[in-house]
Amino acid sequence: MKKGIFVLLMGLAVALAMGAAAYGRSEAFKENIYDPGTLKPRDSVLNLKVGEAAPDFMLPAVSGGKVSLSQFREKKNVVLSFVPAAWTPVCSDQWPGYNIVKDLFDQHDAVLLGITVDNIPTLFSWTRQMGNLWFPVLSDFWPHGAVSKSYGVLRSDGVSERALFVIDKKGILRYIDVHDINERPRLEALVKALEELDRKP
């Protein structure tokens, strides 16, 4: 009987999770957002831990040129925001929020780098709908998803997880959130992680 109750509770939990897939959608993107439906929350194996060195990379930016992680060494803390794909519901309503809180990043001497596996033309069209972004948007398109893979956040279908990495000025990972792909991470969790940077590791 106990097993039966356990199974019943599991069933309830699954159904609640199905019903919980909700997100806001900005009219800024009109009818152009593709809805992939509810996806497996996580589909990769993280191979990094807090306290380890963050893998360096160099990726092309939508605004031109290339950006590397190591260029910020000893100068800035870095937040990496991986989002799965351009023109999808939750991703389209994540970076525009970061776009109005530059001061929160500045307070903690941090820069934000947005990364997806989309190519530059796609990212260009998509991010233009968000207004002028103050942070670089980088394309991990080719070799496909190589940086996402090096961080252990490349999913089996070739898109990345929805993940946040906070890296200090020494290049050390201080916070990792590989989030449920169907949900937007709360801003306060990231702000708390930035506040933690001010403390010694």
Partner: protein
């Protein structure tokens, strides 16, 4: 086998419950009554006073002391809502500055999927003078038919307690005076401007 049946039954019961109660067919339509929603009482006394609410924990739209309430469904993550914020502020200020209107039309915002922290960020960033409420778990958003943002609903509070929708549209307000005149006309409020 029994376990499977149990599992399926549990899932189905819960799914039906979540969807039949919370999911609306679509946005509230003009002429219909607004789905009943519950919001937390504002912490700021001036905002409670603006809405004519006492210090309880929660309230319903019908308890606001006003003839008309304009509700904006927004998100701090929505670029359109960010661009629209000064327009909505201007609407609020026009109403607040007119003695014929200020006691009869109130403006509130509901942050779809936004936490109190996120709503507060939006409020400070755009210096929003009217009350904003978090809708962290999309409960209001679902009750209003999963609308895209920004979405504006104006309701008339009738004496019999019915909250009647008099405006319900997706997108920006457009020209503030034209929008305001439409609401005044539909609510039967004096459109004259007193100095």
């Amino acid at each position: 086998m029994k376990r499977l049946v149990f599992f399926a039954l549990g899932s189905w019961l819960c799914f039906v419950n979540v969807h039949s109660k919370a999911m609306a067919e679509g946005p509230p339509k003009t002429g219909e009554s607004l789905p009943s929603i519950t919001l937390p009482i504002p912490e700021v006394a001036a905002e409670r006073q603006y809405l004519g609410l006492s210090e309880t924990k929660t309230f319903k739209i019908s308890e606001i002391k006003s003839r008309v309430v304009i509700i904006e469904i927004f998100s701090m993550y929505c670029p359109y809502c960010q661009r629209e914020a000064p327009v909505v502020n201007s609407l609020y200020r026009k109403i607040a500055a007119n003695p014929l209107w200020k006691d009869h039309i109130k403006v509130i915002g509901i942050g779809a999927g936004n936490s109190p922290f996120e709503v507060d960020i939006f409020k400070k960033k755009y210096d929003i003078p009217f009350p904003l409420f978090p809708d962290m778990d999309f409960i209001v958003h679902k009750a209003f038919g999963d609308v895209r943002t920004p979405y504006f609903i104006a309701v008339q509070l009738e004496e019999n307690g019915v909250v009647r929708v008099i405006f319900s549209e997706l997108g920006g307000l457009g020209e503030v005076d034209a929008f305001l005149n439409l609401i005044l006309k539909r609510a039967g409020i004096n459109q004259g401007v007193e100095k």
